[in-house]
Amino acid sequence: DAGVTQSPTHLIKTRGQQVTLRCSPKSGHDTVSWYQQALGQGPQFIFQYYEEEERQRGNFPDRFSGHQFPNYSSELNVNALLLGDSALYLCASSFGTAKETQYFGPGTRLLVL
């Protein structure tokens, strides 16, 4: 049973660039949520996708956008990168949106220089 997978594991970008992170949910799951975790902090909710639509969004600017594909996998895009976007980006999946317990992937570590 495949768990949540994310790619790439690490990424280095410069300010102003754009980045795309990818996530495949756990087998049987159809809902994907994205979180940003800064060093020494807890994960902060970015947004959630279900049925290829953004269902809920946290307090993040429009530079953060996403997409969900028919196979339930998802992408997180961040435009005009800032130094403060450096963080661990976590993807979590569940079956349906009304599920409090989420299964997390290993994360993508993004460093913006």
Partner: protein, 111 residues
């Protein structure tokens, strides 16, 4: 913003000892969860306790919830070096199923 606040921020103990971490939150909740994170990697779900429950056990883990004090505690008994990790509490409520995480407690268990 973060709903839960864990205490202490860091905890260092010897193998075999018990580790207790606390979580306080501000608004009413439907449930509270505890997650573990090893070395800045993905989070692993440990246990969920609902607002109408007071205590829950899972192996060496014991979680209590006091809704009148808006607090929860996680007890790890007979700790092992492999328990070294960061532990986060996460709450859901207000009609949302999205968990809101605290800043976490960093636990180091010395062999």
């Amino acid at each position: 913003s973060q709903q839960g606040e864990e205490d202490p921020q860091a905890l260092s103990i010897q193998e075999g000892e018990n580790a207790t971490m606390n979580c306080s939150y501000k608004t009413s909740i439907n449930n509270l969860q505890w997650y573990r994170q090893n070395s800045g990697r993905g989070l692993v779900h440990l246990i969920l306790i609902r607002s109408n429950e007071r205590e829950k056990h899972s192996g060496r883990l014991r979680v209590t919830l006091d809704t009148s004090k808006k607090s929860s505690s996680l007890l790890i008994t007979a700790s092992r070096a492999a328990d070294t990790a960061s532990y986060f509490c996460a709450t859901t409520g207000g009609g949302s199923y999205i968990p809101t995480f605290g800043r976490g407690t960093s636990l180091i268990v010395h062999p």
